[in-house]
Amino acid sequence: RDQAIHDLWIEYKDSGDERAREGLILHYSPLVKFVAGRVGSGLPRNVDQNDLVSFGTFGLIDAVDKFEPERGFKFETYAVNRIEGAILDEMRALDWVPRSVRSRVREIQRTMAELEHRLQRTPTEEEVADAMGVPPDTLRTHLGEIANLGFVALDELLNASEKGSGSISDIIPDLTAVDPSGSFEKEETRYLLADSINRLPDRERLVLTLYYYEGLTLSEIGGVLNVTESRVCQIHTKAVMSLRNRFIE
């Protein structure tokens, strides 16, 4: 069985045989379904899943063309990365995060950073709304809008200002997986993060702790706090923004 696929790789890479190439694309094509479904669940709800599958299919074709079997790596792992990359690249090219939301994120982050500096503590939603000259409900609606963009976009938006300083989702997953050989650097970051979360207002601290350290979903956290899931999303977005500000300083 495996021999047949192995032969197709040799046939395609040696002679560029188009039939072998198509055979390889079809053989691995279910990977696109797996990746598009999972990447899709971190994107805004209005994104069309069929588009993701199309982008992902180009990623797979690209992977088949560029793969070098003689290097001995498994094709599946390489292909999954390229399929994911192709989907996210296309989404960015379509500018899926509306400009108005991008500028709103910057405005909220800037206001929060100024208030934190002045008050030497995390400002409440009311204080941020006041400083922005809007009613608290309007600020909450904005926070909800930002949350609806999903995990992938939030990460990018919050890191856009300072590239390479490590995103929240890079820092946190590492921390919860206990690492026996824990390098000093990780312990240091772990401590910094726990300290920053500890200084957040009660509700924000609880949401981030249950979300990142206990691994609960937003609706499950809503059940603990007795609030709606969309309210949890708003609290989460604000908390991650203030956390972000602390990390940058």
């Binding site: 279910p30 696109v32 479904g37 971190g42 069929n50 949350a147 999903g150 601290r205 206990e214 979903t217």
Partner: protein, 153 residues
């Protein structure tokens, strides 16, 4: 509560593994269905041309919130390398030469994959039931105050 957490992480591992195999089999079933439609003349496009449409989900709709944690794209340890029924099915290279396979054989493969998919989807649902019960117990402890989030930091 640590015991609950370790049981839940077992469910998460099973979910990742079962969801991977389920999707790999569903993709094969959908490609077979398309080829059978091509043989009966219902479909005139080639497999490659129609690929994105074949692989898309039937209905749209999602269970999770876009803000819930990013899903892992790690492949299960064995992916295609073990000796289980599912591994044999995934390592069979029939997709690479679908147009040369007899219709009866196409139907036979489709039926056996469909049975496998139904079993895996059932196991996956059972894992979600277990996951929901365990998580329900964890959130109850937080609500009642017997578990404290501050311990986690």
């Amino acid at each position: 509560i640590d015991d609950l957490r370790s049981r839940r992480s077992i469910c998460d591992e099973l979910d990742t593994e079962l969801s991977y195999y389920r999707r790999m089999i569903q993709g094969r079933i959908d490609l077979l269905d398309f080829e059978l439609r091509r043989r009966s003349g219902e479909e005139t496009r080639s497999l490659i041309e129609a690929l994105p449409e074949i692989l898309a989900d039937s209905a749209s709709g999602r269970t999770s919130n876009p803000l819930d944690r990013e899903l892992s794209l790690d492949l299960p340890e064995l992916a295609g390398g073990g000796a289980r029924e599912v591994d044999t099915a995934l390592s069979d290279g029939f997709l690479a030469h679908l147009p040369t396979i007899e219709v009866d054989e196409l139907r036979r493969i489709r039926d056996s994959l469909s049975e496998m998919e139904a079993k895996i989807s059932e196991q996956r649902r059972a894992v979600y039931d277990a996951h929901d019960i365990i998580t329900g117990e964890i959130t109850k402890r937080y609500r009642e105050g017997t578990a404290s989030a501050d311990e986690l930091l």
